[in-house]
Amino acid sequence: MERNPEGENLEYGALEEVFEVPIGPIHPALKEPIRFTFQVRGERIVDVQIRTGFAHRGIEFMGMRQGRNLIQILYLSERICGICSVSHPIAFTQAVERAAGIEVPPRAQYIRVIISELERIHSHLLWAGVAAHELGFDTLLHLTWRVREKVLDILEELTGNRINYAIPIFGGVRRDITPEQYPRVWEAIRYYRGLLEELLDAFLRDPTVEARTRGVGILEPKEAEELCAVGPTARASGLRKDVRQDRPYLAYSDFEVKAITPADYGLTPVGDVYDKIVVRLLEVGQSLDIIEKALENMPEGEITSFPKIPALLAHLKKAEGEGLGWHEAPRGEVIHYVRLVSGEESPLIWKVKAPTYSNLLSWYPMFEDQEVADIPIIAACIDPCICCMDRVYIVRNGKEETWTKEELLRLSWEKTRRMRR
C-alpha cells in the first residue's frame, strides 16, 4: 500500500497516483525489441511513450554503399522481413523495373500475384495464431498453426523454400508453375475453403475471444485516417484502403480487388482488435479468390524478359533513372524507392518504407485508457514488424538526441549536394 508523505494510508488515493511501467525493449510479451513506457493509474493506461531504434540493421546502407549489385540486393531486400519475404522483393523489383524500363511478361505478373497471395494467407494465419497466443488461448494457436503448414508446403513446392522464396527477379520470375503443380495448388485452395468457416467460427463466435477483444484497442476511423494507418489496421476501422484497389500494379487490375472491412461480414466497423481479426480472416478468403482467378486465367508465354542473367546485369548497369515500387504486403503498404545511375552497379539511393512504420502511431490512440492486461494483444494487433521498419536512433555522449524536421531537411539538402558533386 502506498503512503503519501504525511504517512496517511491512502487506499483509494493510491489509485489516483500514476505509476510508470516500462515494457521492453526485451520483454516476454513482445516478439521484437521496442520500448513502451506506460503511465498507469490503477489498472488503466493513462499515457504511453514508444521508443524504437533497438534493431536497426542498416540494410539500405548495405545495399547502397557496400558494392553489391542489384541482383545481390534483391536477396538482401528479401531478408528485410521473414514473413513478408516476397512483398519486399516485389516492391523492389517494381521500383528497379520502372527505373530501368524493364517490361514484365503477363505470366510472370500472374505468378508474382499467386505467390504474394499465398504469402498473405500464411501471414494472416500466423498472425491469428499469435493473437490467440497473446490472449492466452494457446489451443487456438496450435490449431491455427497446424493448418498454416499446408500453405507453407505449397510455397515450398512452388518455390523450393518455405520462406524467402527467391521468386521475383527483374523482368519476371525465376520459376514457372508447372502443369503437375496446378492440382496441388487447387487442392490447397479447397482445403482452406472448407476450413475458413471453421476458423471464423473458432475465432469470432468464441465467447472468450470476444470478451478479450471486443472494445479493446479501438482505433477510430478518423484517427486511422489522420495517422495514415495502412493495411488491415486501417481497414478494421472501416477505411476502404488497399493498394491493390487504389493503385493496381502487376496483374491486380484483372482481379478487381476490393478492400475488405468488417462491414463485409455484416458488422459495423469499430476498429477494435475483434475487427482486426475479422478483416484478416476475411482476407484469407479474398486471397483464395484471387489465386483461383489467377490460376484459371493464367496467360501462356515467357516468365521473364531477361532469360540470361549476364545480359540483365549489363542492362541494369547501363540504366539511369528513378523508380517507385509499391505492394500491399500482409501488414499494409510497402514502398521501395530506387535511384540508379549508369555505370554503377549499386543504386545511388534505396529507400524502404515497411508497413509497420505507418502503423506505429496508431498505437497511441489504441493504448489510451486500456487495461494493463491488454497490452500484449494491443501491441500485437497491428502485426508489428519492428526490425523491418526500424530507423536510426541517435545517442551521443550518453544522451538521446532529437532532430527536428528542419534539421533533417538541412541534412538531406547537404547530402543531395554531396551526391551531385
Partner: protein, 130 residues
C-alpha cells in the same frame, strides 16, 4: 468447433513428424553419436519436394572458371581459386537462393534436396563444396 476438434485430436496421430527420434532422447548429442556408430536409426524426415533448394552440388569437371556465380551470390559463399580456375563454396553461409545455379552458363552447379546440414563447425568438410 474447438471442442469437437480437440476431442478428435485425442484420437488422431500428431500432425508433426517425429524427427530425428520417435521419443525425445535424454541427450541429443549422445543420440547422434549412437546414430554414427549405427546403434540407433534416425526417424526419417518428410521428403523434400522435387525442386527443393538445398545444398548446392558442384561439377568440377564442367566448371570453366567464369566467376559469374561469384558476381551474383548475395552471401559471398563462393571463393575463387585462381591457380586452378575453380571455385570453393562455404555452405554455412549459403542462403539457398540458387541464383548461382541459374546463372551458370555450363550447368556445373545444381540444387540437391539435401537439407540436413546442421553442424557445430562451419568449416567441417561436409559444409565445404569444391
Amino acid at each position: 468447433m474447438i471442442l469437437k476438434t480437440l476431442i478428435s485430436q485425442l484420437l488422431s496421430r500428431p500432425a508433426t513428424n517425429r524427427f530425428p527420434a520417435k521419443y525425445m532422447p535424454k541427450s541429443v548429442t549422445g543420440f547422434l553419436a549412437k546414430v554414427k556408430e549405427g546403434k540407433a536409426g534416425i526417424h526419417p524426415p518428410i521428403p523434400a519436394p522435387p525442386k527443393f533448394r538445398g545444398k548446392i552440388a558442384y561439377d568440377r569437371e564442367k566448371c570453366i572458371g567464369c566467376q559469374l556465380c561469384i558476381r551474383v551470390c548475395p552471401a559471398k559463399v563462393i571463393e575463387f581459386k585462381p591457380e586452378e580456375k575453380k571455385i570453393r563454396m562455404y555452405v554455412a553461409r549459403c542462403t539457398f537462393c540458387a541464383q548461382c545455379v541459374d546463372v551458370c552458363p555450363v550447368n556445373a552447379l545444381a540444387i540437391t534436396p539435401e537439407f540436413l546440414l546442421a553442424s557445430t563447425d562451419r568449416l567441417s568438410p561436409e559444409l565445404i563444396v569444391e
